[in-house]
Symmetry: C2
Subunit: 447 residues, 2 copies
């Protein structure tokens, strides 16, 4: 297998046209064919493991050079690195996606409009999706597998640091397509530069959805340029609210897990809100635990006052900017509130509609909080870190969306499908219904 054969179409317009054509063929493919292709990709990945590692080594050596020049972070280099175990995981991932239930062709609703005139609302692929992701090359396999399973054409834009790895992976995927004669090979294609992405976004009327997974900046850049929906994956400014009726042990467990389990990710805790009547002793105890784990604590004036007798606590002053900051780091901001209402107002104003949790034994208050907080995930007595596709049991995760429509929070395969209305008639027109000669019956059809 020579890399020279792997042609990436240069002409973006043509690439988009081919992706569109492929999407129409995919829309008619039986799920068994899509699954066979997924197993074939898995096989090809395993067969070509050493080739993948060779190409990945080129990216790593380029990245190391950039790191030495100070142009790339070490963590980025780490995320770029593939090894045999990661390659095996990619292969298994494809098999897992093959085993998921078919997300398309499912009837959502069915109505008999009249005798011989039946309306079905049926799930179907969205069409052509542009997926923009960061440097992890294994993300390419995940996204491609989910795209294939859901019957969408996917145009992939990976990080340029991973270009050798991405190219070989797309080449392997396309070689797997050969298994089935009619399988549309442009179902998966690659663009490599930001310029190409900007061109694609300009043609966005010919795309159906853009899913950028990356920084807030990236998501907003795409949103500004795009005419079509963008399923962004950006900030998580998550809150925990400790109500005065909170159980102390639960408070400790929820707060510490939310902050300390993995501070570098979007579903970790950034701002702790504490009811004025919550026990000062327990608050101090929880914050001391955090401090012992290396967390910097920034507090409002009120919190500073109530904790002033706890001399071993090192408390910095929080400023307004803190309430709107996603630290993704060992920093927490703490604010005292007079009421649950104030907590909700704060969350809805400063939060990012990601995930927010209340700790309380008051069931009625909890339910009110879950309804009032305008976030994708609203939790009662549970760590914000549960906001995750795997933990939710979604089977596969497209990403975590901070959009408010179509797909919110951790998004599974259903984020890659839409629906259409299929109407089955016998030559009917609406005229005789307008005339009152016939009446609609609108009877639900069991399915």
């Amino acid at each position: 297998m020579s890399l020279k054969k792997s042609k990436i179409p240069k002409d973006i317009k043509n690439q988009l046209f081919e992706a569109r054509k492929s999407s129409h063929i995919l829309a008619n493919l039986d799920v068994s064919i899509k699954n066979q292709i997924l197993y074939e990709i898995s096989t090809k990945i395993k067969e070509n493991a050493s080739l993948i590692l060779e190409e990945n080594a080129k990216d790593i050596s380029d990245a190391k050079r950039l790191y030495e020049k100070g142009e790339l972070s070490l963590s980025l280099c780490d995320r770029l690195l593939l090894n045999e175990s990661k390659i095996e995981q990619m292969a298994i991932y494809c098999e897992n996606v093959a085993e998921l239930p078919n997300p398309t062709g499912n009837i959502l609703d069915a109505t008999c409009l009249d005798v011989g005139l039946d309306l079905y609302k049926v799930t179907c692929p969205i069409g052509v999706i542009l997926m923009i992701f960061e440097s992890r090359p294994d993300a390419l396999i995940q996204i491609s597998a989910l795209g294939l399973k859901s019957g969408n054409s996917v145009i992939l834009k990976g990080g340029k640091e991973a270009s050798h790895s991405n190219r070989i992976l797309v080449k392997i995927i396309r070689e797997a397509f050969v298994l089935k004669n009619d399988f549309p090979k442009n179902s998966i294609s690659l663009v490599e530069t930001r310029v190409e992405v900007d061109e694609l976004v300009k043609l966005s009327a010919d795309l159906d959805l853009i899913i950028p997974r990356g920084s807030n900046q990236l998501v907003q850049h795409i949103q500004r340029k795009s005419l079509i929906p963008v399923l962004g994956h950006a900030d998580g400014i998550c809150h925990v609210f400790l109500d005065h009726a909170a159980d102390e042990i639960k408070s400790k467990s929820v707060v510490l897990d939310s902050k300390l389990n993995y501070p570098a990710v979007c579903n970790s805790l950034e701002t702790l809100l504490v009811h004025q009547n919550y026990s000062n002793k327990w608050l101090a105890y929880i914050l001391l635990k955090m401090q012992d784990s290396g967390v910097e604590i920034r507090v409002c004036n009120e919190t500073k006052k109530r904790l002033k007798t706890y001399k071993s606590l090192i408390l910095k002053n929080a400023v307004n900017e803190d309430w709107k900051t996603e630290y993704v780091d060992l920093i927490i901001s703490v604010k005292s509130v007079d009421s649950a209402e104030e907590a909700v107002m704060h969350i809805n104003h400063f939060g990012s509609k990601h995930t927010d949790s209340i700790v309380t034994e008051n069931k009625e208050l909890a339910e009110w909080f879950l309804n009032s907080v305008d976030s994708a995930g609203v939790f009662w007595n549970a760590s914000t870190r549960f906001a995750d596709g795997f933990r939710y049991g979604l089977g596969a995760e497209v990403g975590v969306s901070n959009a408010k429509i179509h797909a919110r929070g951790p998004v599974g395969l259903e984020g890659l499908i839409t629906y259409k209305y299929k109407l089955y008639g016998n030559g009917q027109g609406v005229e005789e219904y307008d005339d009152g000669k016939r009446q609609f019956i609108h009877k639900k059809i069991n399915f």
Copy 2:
């Protein structure tokens, strides 16, 4: 009741803030309260019928002046006009919406993640919606009723020709809110100028959804300016494809109804695609019927050739522009195609993803067509005019969407809702699952 009291907040930012606050209260309101408010609006509309007519008369007299100057069309004046019957219909509409099932708080999915850790995916309002609509003042009542029922705050922007009518209607709605002490009066508010809309769209991070109902131009203008999803209602370039295996009577019925029933609307037929082996005699017969009804017929070269013996048919030459034109008028374009594949390619390329129909007795081909055509409505042996919320039996229609995600085609109340994940725990963190001390069970909960 004096109009002077009806204060429209001048400060857009403040208006948006108040709408947002109201939305958080609405999210917790019991459906019975929302329904009582809807009945109260109905009562108030009936009580204030003469006042509404007075205000509407001002709009009409302004509009007539503009019409005389040639600055407004007669059809626009017509649509502006309210009368007692229309006012009664508005009142009944509110009652009908009150009687619809509650769209929020419904469980979509439920999973027990572990003992004492239950995840519910529950429908909820979207938040704050900006609705832009044309001059019909009765649309204001429809949109407001749907917004209230679904628990959203709605900012309304009607046509400026209808400003007196719109103001009095919003005033009446807000007076109905007084029935319930805690009902948030800024759930419904009004903006009146395009400048205000542009300002709102700039603040679009604080809006959740924009629904423009109007021209293609309007929709695209909003889409270009907005950072958030726009549920557009624009062009309908609908097709009927007559396959060679089409039944002749069904062909005639579907084509004539699709074109002639109401040519001025988006779900009427614009381009007829005809298989090369479809009977020329029947094609001529159908087109003659159209011609008799005043339809101008524009055909491709191939169609011209096959119909050349039918001397009474007046056939103009279609140009490329015709295939992408929504005539919404007594004009039809006709194209011969070599195959169903060519028909599908044409529809997916030139169509507007609205509604397209195939006439054939070939069930397998029909199913292939329904899957391949990338439109919200795909019909077999039925008129495109069936694409409509009332005919679909949706109960209420928000509009007809040409978006591909969230809501496609005729959109009912479900277009105004989204979902959130509610997680009910006992103080759990993810740490013990990461450690392998506990395992997720991911068992479906019956609901």
